[in-house]
């Protein structure tokens, strides 16, 4: 009679979402109906199969980094507190007046008149149609994305296509502040990993600039593409000795990076500072219990080369 009803509700039964009376009815039916009993078994097995794959818990590092980033952002954000309710909110006001046809018509007419006035001005002073040479300096907030980064072969000229309201192109050398600013933006924010890779690659040629080093550290820590992380690591490697932030980032990559290639490269870069206390501690941990046999044996070799500490 109600096999169909039972089959529609078996999922809810497995997830404990059936009301008591419905659950009782379903159990009664299953005790009598072999087909529905099989269906319940199949659903339970499927549920168990899916439950083998658990949602990964965020690592302590990720949680800490997220909290820090949020705290920084909250410093500059405006809270929506009590006083905000008393201030004039044009969007809210417009929502309220949208049902008032007379007022809405008045706003429409006003807007139309304003539009006419504006277009009159535009026709009066025609703007040059094509931007030639250099584009105006872009602020970070006006950039919506980086389209491409290319370098002229054999020259130090870099061409970057980036989007604001419309796509613009700018050119200059790596020493050009605008070019650096765009590369830094692309390294952190672009969706396209190829553009991130090109930007990070170019930035590695200027690792002595502290902003660049920060961007490379960011890429090493957070970029989802292992190729970009490797490039960032190559750019930072030379500063492992002198810059403690770089050293920490490289050690973090050595311990936590999901890619074995990045970890192996990180291990190579910390070789010159293996006697440092923090590095020695990391090496001891890796030598004792790292999952990769290669990393484990390399860490042991490096530790064996160090003088004994009494």
């Amino acid at each position: 009679m109600k096999c169909e009803w039972v089959r529609e509700n078996i999922t809810l039964q497995v997830y404990g979402e059936l009301a008591d009376d419905a659950r009782h009815e379903l159990e009664q039916h299953i005790a009598r109906c072999a087909d529905c009993a099989t269906e319940l078994k199949v659903e339970q097995e499927f549920h168990a199969l899916l439950s083998q794959e658990r949602a990964a818990e965020p690592t302590a590092n990720l949680l800490a980094a997220s909290r820090m980033k949020l705290q920084e952002a909250l410093e500059t954000a405006e809270p929506g507190g009590f006083w905000r309710r008393l201030t004039f909110d044009p969007a809210n006001w417009l929502r309220q007046v949208r049902f008032s046809p007379t007022l809405a018509s008045a706003i429409l007419i006003l807007g139309f008149a304003g539009g006419l006035g504006t277009s009159y001005k535009v026709f009066g002073h025609p703007a040059s149609g094509v931007a030639t040479g250099t584009a105006p300096a872009a602020t970070e907030s006006s950039i919506t994305g980086i389209q491409s980064v290319t370098q002229e072969p054999g020259t130090n000229q870099i061409a970057i296509k980036y989007d604001t309201v419309s796509t613009l192109e700018t050119q200059g050398s790596l020493n050009d502040q605008r070019i650096q600013q765009l590369l830094l933006f692309a390294a952190r924010n672009n969706y396209n990993s190829g553009v991130r890779m090109d930007s990070v690659d170019l930035l590695t040629k200027k690792p002595d600039v502290s902003q660049v080093r920060d961007a490379l550290i960011y890429a090493l820590r957070y970029d989802t593409n292992p190729g970009v992380r490797l490039k960032a690591l190559d750019g930072l490697g030379g500063f492992v000795k002198d810059d403690v932030h770089v050293r920490d980032a490289v050690l973090e990559a050595l311990v936590n990076d999901s890619n074995p290639g990045v970890r192996t490269e990180a291990l190579r870069w910390i070789e010159p500072v293996k006697a440092d206390g923090s590095v020695r501690g990391v090496l001891m941990t890796l030598a004792a219990k790292d999952q990769s046999q290669y990393i484990k044996s390399q860490a042991r070799t490096m530790l064996a080369q160090l003088p004994e500490i009494d």
Binding site: T11, A55, A56, R84, D223
Partner: protein
């Protein structure tokens, strides 16, 4: 202090929930008066669950971090308009799920970039293929099977519509009641039930050969 060992007090969980709610109410009121410390305390009550949800739905730490940041910034900017009509838990989950739904919708349009690079002759190859994986676990066979299962499940989940994926995620991985899921997604419990049914049917179809 009284110590109760081995006996589980059935009212304890409910009371803890009530205490948390009272606690949240005080913090929300403080945050509405502009106390940033109170808001940060509120964040710490929920941020692990938020990050876990974002991580599983977006698939990358970078995107999860973006969703986390956007969600709490949005909550901070709009805390003044919070009217205690629902719990803060439902409210923050509503913000997060909306951001994740946007992300999932965009993801269906823009496929994630594979780490592909060009070699000297201009041919493309996957960078990850060039890196030897030296991190096999103690039982490589089981490890491989587990990874294969994970990949199949992830693939099947990605074929669900963003809304089906969200309902399934909140129910299966986060154990929320469908009534709460409905509240979060601005829909009825009945619709959430139907969506869960559709999602599991689709998943069963996708993973039929794995049973």
């Amino acid at each position: 202090m009284e110590k109760v060992s081995g006996i589980r007090d059935p009212t304890r969980g409910r009371m803890a929930g009530q205490e948390r709610r009272i606690d949240d109410t005080i913090l929300i009121r403080e945050a509405q008066r502009g106390n940033r410390g109170a808001f940060e305390e509120l964040v710490r009550h929920y941020d692990q669950a938020v990050l876990r949800l974002a991580l599983h739905l977006t698939g990358t730490e970078h995107d999860a971090q973006d969703v986390y940041q956007d969600a709490f910034l949005k909550a901070y900017k709009n805390i003044g308009s919070f009217r205690f009509e629902c719990s803060f838990y439902t409210w923050i989950y509503r913000i997060v799920t909306n951001l994740c739904l946007d992300h999932l919708r965009k993801k269906t349009v823009r496929k994630e970039d594979a780490p592909v690079v060009k070699d000297g002759s201009g041919g493309e190859y996957d960078l990850l293929d060039q890196v030897p994986d030296g991190r096999a676990g103690a039982n490589p066979e089981r490890d491989l099977m587990r990874r294969q299962l994970g990949a199949r499940i992830s693939g099947a989940l990605e074929k669900l519509t963003p809304r089906e994926r969200m309902v399934f995620e909140l129910k299966h991985y986060h154990g929320l009641k469908l009534r709460t899921v409905g509240e979060i997604l601005h829909t009825t419990e009945e619709t959430a039930k139907n969506t869960l049914f559709r999602a599991t049917q689709k998943l069963r179809g996708q993973l039929a050969d794995m049973r």
